[in-house]
Amino acid sequence: MGVTCVAQVPVAEGKSVQQTVEILTRKLELLGAEKQGTFCVDCETYHTAASTISSQGQTGKLMYVMHNSEYPLSCFALFENGPCLIADANFDILMVKLKGFFQNAKANKIESRGTRYQYCDFLVKVGTVTMGPSARGISVEVEYCPCVIANDCWNLLMEFMQSFMGNHTPGIPSVFGTKHDSIYSPADTMVQYMELFNKIRKQQQESLQKAALEAAQGL
């Protein structure tokens, strides 16, 4: 486990999601990165059920339950801007028991699947983000394995990302800002994935609204 940066790569103009992923992976292969199987990160959304909202006056908070194939026995539960609980896989069973209080928004299930590459001390995972049946975007996760302090290796990470992402290299992730010199943990990676998934969902909603507006104007 090291320090990880998760970023979104925009789909290249005139290309499909799949083609853009292929361009990225080809670049990595040319660089000398070795293919090492596949990976999957998924995220389920839970709504606070109406019964709890009315009795406690809570606003309808969303809870995210995520899994990462890099940590197959664990389950990550998160709130936006809140704590991230790392639990074992039985947490999924608990969510079934809690279905009277937390409802699974099945349509909102989002996941990123793709290939895992190793290049010296770096692990790179290029994934296609899918929500339902269709591809919504591309995620790139880069991990620098030998270091656990985010600020100590951010520049190195950025330099490496520039070598294959070019001008799509992301800025410093917000989780790094709160870490200072403390130890980076897998929960921080999951927070980054949650933010990325939320961004992609928002983009999706915006594009749908735009399309609806255009259709209305056309009429």
Partner: protein, 302 residues
């Protein structure tokens, strides 16, 4: 034996070269020792593999090796301590987990049941009970525990709130927190010799209480449990005292709730394995008259 077969075959081949009659077959049948197989025609030696072929084979073999490796990777806090910053370059290769193949990530063990028998002993009888348990149970180092348990409630419109128990070890640092859900107890069945209830055990990181509060749970009560734990096969026997916490949140100032120790015999097994309750009853019989372990309905005590 093999040398003989080859020699015989050579003879036959030479014979067939000389005379092409159907006698050869009979000769072979007669002269071959029982169970021996006729030798296969020799193949041309294989040409050495071309470089791309060799690379492919190497990759294939490596992939097969990876597949065979056990995959038990846990995230923090269960993972080993993080590697030192000064780890030599290239060491990442060995410390990394093997590549994971696509696998179902959602999981957990569905429908586990806790079978439970309870009883209690006065403080004066504790030593004799421990002595008996040491003799009956698996031969292991005597194990004690000191735990802090918090009981959280989530109230909805339903009549009964949802109860979760969060437990942490006070005497062993670095252990995961323990989150527990317990279902409604079933005690009516006369054929079952123990109380049975659904249970979900989850190991979690240490921010569990913050997370439960974020989920909407409120702490109802807390206590400290201190005692001994024994095992016999899959059975777990706990002998412990419950302490009241005098100042909320301060686990240092505690006082015992009673002058006795609670004794619990429990097994967690998949649903439907009622046979375990027979074993439990037999074990409980062996603890008599020091302690009487029974099916106790928690509702009756309320």
């Amino acid at each position: 034996m093999e040398g003989w077969t080859i020699l015989l075959l050579l003879l036959v081949v030479t014979a067939s070269n000389v005379d092409n009659s159907d006698l050869d077959g009979k000769v072979v049948a007669k002269m071959m020792p029982e169970g021996a197989r006729p030798a296969r025609p020799r193949r041309e030696p294989r040409p050495p593999p071309s470089p791309p072929q060799r690379a492919w084979r190497q990759r294939h073999r490596q992939a097969a090796r990876w597949r065979c490796r056990p995959r038990r990777v846990r995230a923090a806090p269960f993972a080993a301590p993080p590697p030192a910053l000064s780890a030599p370059a290239g060491s990442a290769r060995t410390m990394e987990a093997p590549p994971v193949t696509m696998m179902p990530v959602t999981g957990g063990t569905i429908n586990m049941m806790e079978y439970l028998l309870q009883g209690s002993v006065l403080d004066q009888s504790l030593e004799s009970l421990l002595h008996r348990l040491r003799g009956l149970c698996d031969n292991m180092e005597p194990e004690t525990f000191l735990d802090h348990e918090m009981v959280f409630l989530l109230k909805g419109q339903q009549a009964s709130p949802f109860v979760l128990r969060a437990r942490r070890s006070m005497d062993k640092s670095g252990m995961p927190w323990h989150l527990r859900y317990l279902g409604q107890p079933e005690i009516g069945d006369k054929n079952r010799h123990a109380l049975v209830r659904n249970c979900v055990d989850i190991a979690t990181s240490d921010n569990l209480t913050d997370f439960l509060v974020e989920m909407g749970f409120r702490m109802d009560h807390e206590f400290v449990a201190k005692g001994h734990v024994f095992r016999k096969g899959i059975m777990k026997i706990m002998v412990y005292k419950i302490f009241r916490i005098l100042m909320p949140g301060n686990t240092e100032s505690i006082e015992p709730l009673s002058l006795s120790y609670l004794v619990e015999l429990n097994v967690v097994a998949p649903a439907g394995q009622d046979v375990v309750s027979d074993d439990m009853r037999n074990f409980a019989e062996q603890l008599k008259p020091l302690v009487h372990l029974e099916k106790i309905d928690p509702k009756r005590l309320m």
